[in-house]
C-alpha cells in the first residue's frame, strides 16, 4: 500500500471536458425582481418589474391598476352634486384639489359665477391641501431614504391641517367641502384663529425640516445627482408638476391659466435646474413656503359675502327660507330629488394639484347626470416616466427616484 491510498476506496478522476476551440459566450446574468405591490416604498400598490444586472437596473416596467375602482363609470350614474364625493377618493392626499377641479368644470358648463368669498376660501383650503400633501410626501420620502424622524415632524403639522379640515367639514380626509356653486357649508365660527395659529408657526416648522435634511450629508449623498431625466423626455411622457419645475420649466397652471382668483394672490413659482431628486425636494420645500404665503394673504384679505352662488336652481336654499318661502321649498325638493340639469357641452378644466396637472374632461348631454367624466390624474402621467428615469441606475436609487415623483396610486388608477 502506497501513501495516499485509502483501503476500499477507489479514487475516480473527475472528467474534465476538453476546452472547445470556441470561447464560450458569456451569458448575461440577469435577475428579475418583483418590487411591490406591497412594498412599503411604493406608497400604495405600485408593482415594478425590475430586470437587474448585478445591482444595475437594465429595464423597469411599472404595473398599475391594483386600485382601479371604476370611478369614471360611477360618475355617470350619480347626479352632478353627488359626484363631488367621488373626487375625494381619487387622490386621497389632495381631496380638495380634486373637489375644486370637478366643481370648476361643472360650473363652467353651468356658467355660474362664484362669489369672491367662496373663491378665496377655496384658494386657502386647496393651499392647505397642498401643504398636507407635501408633508406626507416629505415624511414618507425621508423614511424611504432613511431619515426616520422627519416623518414624525411632518405628521405633527399634518395633524393640525386635518383638524382645520375637520372643523370646516366634519371630515379629516374625505372632506367634499367644495360643492358646485360654492362651499358645502358656511365657514365655521372661529376659523380665522385656527388658521392663524397654524400659519404663524408653520414657516418655522419648514425651517426645522430643512435643518434636518437640506445640509445633511446622508440626505444629499442619497439624493444629489440621482433620478435624472431630461426635460424633453418628461414633456414627452406627460410628466407634470414639481418634477418639471425642478428641471427649470416655470409652468404652473395657477399662474399661466389662473382659476378661482389665484391671479389676485402674490406668490412665486419656484424652479431649479439640477433636475435630480434633491432639486425636487428643494422645489417642494419652497412651494410649501409659497403656499403659506398664499394662505396668509387669504386669511388677511378674506372678502365678505356669501359662501355660495346666487343660483337657486343649483344651490340648496337656506333652512330658514324654506320655512317661509314657497319657492325655496320647491327648489329644495327639486334639487334633492332630481338634481339640476346642466346645459349640453363639454369642458376640460385644468388645475395645479400638489402633484401636477389635474384635468377633468366633463361631457354633458343636458340632463342631471354627467354623460362622461374623464379624470386626467398627474400620477398616471408621471408613472409612465419611471422606466426612462431608473434605467441604468442602482437599485437603491430606485427608491429615491420614485419617491421624488410623489405619486398616489388612487390618482393613477381611479
Amino acid at each position: 500500500m502506497s501513501d495516499g491510498e485509502i483501503p476500499g476506496v477507489t479514487v475516480v478522476q473527475a472528467e474534465i471536458p476538453e476546452e472547445s476551440a470556441e470561447t464560450p459566450v458569456p451569458r448575461p446574468r440577469r435577475m428579475t425582481l418583483n418590487m411591490g405591490p406591497q412594498h412599503p416604498s411604493t406608497h400604495g400598490v405600485l408593482r415594478l418589474l425590475l430586470e437587474l444586472d448585478g445591482e444595475t437596473i437594465t429595464s423597469a416596467q411599472p404595473d398599475i391598476g391594483y386600485l382601479h375602482t371604476g370611478i369614471e363609470k360611477e360618475f355617470e350614474v350619480k347626479n352632478y352634486q353627488q359626484g363631488v364625493t367621488l373626487t375625494d377618493r381619487i387622490d386621497y392626499l389632495a381631496p380638495l384639489s380634486n373637489n375644486l377641479c370637478y366643481c370648476l368644470a361643472a360650473e363652467k358648463l353651468l356658467g355660474l359665477e362664484i362669489p369672491p368669498m367662496a373663491q378665496w376660501q377655496r384658494v386657502m383650503l386647496t393651499e392647505l391641501t397642498r401643504l398636507n400633501s407635501h408633508l406626507v410626501w416629505l415624511g414618507t420620502h425621508a423614511i424611504d431614504i432613511g431619515a426616520m424622524s422627519v416623518f414624525l415632524y411632518c405628521f405633527r403639522e399634518r395633524e393640525d391641517i386635518l383638524r382645520i379640515f375637520e372643523m370646516y367639514s366634519g371630515q379629516r380626509m374625505m372632506t367634499s367641502y367644495f360643492r358646485i356653486g360654492g362651499l358645502a357649508l358656511e365657514p365655521p365660527r372661529g376659523w380665522q384663529k385656527r388658521v392663524r395659529d397654524f400659519i404663524d408657526v408653520f414657516p418655522s416648522r419648514v425651517d426645522e425640516y430643512e435643518e434636518l435634511l437640506t445640509n445633511n450629508r446622508i440626505w444629499t449623498g442619497r439624493t444629489k445627482g440621482v433620478g435624472f431625466i431630461s426635460l424633453e423626455d418628461m414633456l414627452d411622457w406627460g410628466v407634470t408638476g414639481p418634477m418639471l419645475r425642478a428641471a427649470g420649466l416655470r409652468w404652473d397652471t395657477r399662474k399661466t391659466q389662473p382659476y378661482s382668483s389665484y391671479d389676485k394672490f402674490d406668490f412665486e413659482v419656484p424652479t431649479r435646474t439640477e433636475n435630480d431628486v434633491y432639486a425636487r425636494y428643494l422645489v417642494r420645500i419652497e412651494e410649501m413656503r409659497q403656499s403659506a404665503r398664499i394662505i396668509k394673504q387669504a386669511l388677511e384679505g378674506m372678502p365678505e359675502g356669501r359662501w355660495a352662488a346666487d343660483a337657486p336652481h343649483v344651490v340648496l336654499p337656506e333652512r330658514e327660507k324654506m320655512k317661509t318661502q314657497m319657492e325655496a321649498l320647491i327648489y329644495h325638493f327639486k334639487i334633492v330629488t332630481e338634481g339640476f340639469a346642466v346645459p349640453a357641452g363639454e369642458v376640460y378644466q385644468v388645475i395645479e394639484s400638489p402633484r401636477g396637472e389635474v384635468g377633468y374632461y366633463m361631457v354633458s348631454d343636458g340632463t342631471a347626470k354627467p354623460y362622461r367624466v374623464h379624470v386626467r390624474g398627474p400620477s398616471f402621467g408621471n408613472l409612465q416616466a419611471i422606466p426612462e428615469m431608473v434605467q441604468g441606475t442602482l437599485i437603491a436609487d430606485v427608491i429615491a427616484s420614485i419617491g421624488s415623483m410623489d405619486f398616489v396610486l388612487g390618482d393613477s388608477d381611479r
Partner: protein, 157 residues
Amino acid sequence: MTADELKTYPVAAALAEAEPDALVGGKFDREELTLEIAADQIVAACAYLKNEQKFVRLSTVTAVDRYPDEPRFEVVYHLHSPERNQRLRLKCRLGGGSPEIDSVTVVWRGANWYERETFDLFGIRFRNHPDLRRIMLPEDWEGHPLRKDYPVTGDRV
C-alpha cells in the same frame, strides 16, 4: 361651425393649410377650441401640431361612447402648449363595429398608457401601438366597462 369661421382661429387655419385632408370640422365653446380630425389623418395632424405649432404636450387621451348613435365613438385628445399657453382638443369619430385608429405614440411616447387605458375601458384598438394590453383591469376581463351598454350593477350574464 363653417370652414370659414373655423379658419379665424390661427391653429385651425394653419392645420387646414398644412394637412388639407385632416380638418373636417370644429367648434369654439366655453373658451375651448375643438378641432375635428379625420380618423385616418390623426397621426399627421398631431405630428404637425407638435412639431410646427408647439403643442409639445399631450395632456390626455380618452373616448366618449355615443351609443346607440353612429358613429359611436369619439376619441378625444387634449393638447397643451406651455410656450403658447394654449390648450386644444382634437376629436375623431369612429364607427361602432370594430373601432380602430392609428396610435399617436409615434408623436408622443406618453400616449402609450392613455391609449392602453382607452383600449382597456372602451375597446378601441390603436394600430401600431407598441404594447397594447389592458392596463387597469385583469388580462382575462371580459368586456369594456366604460361603454354605455356595459351595466353598472348586476350579475354578469
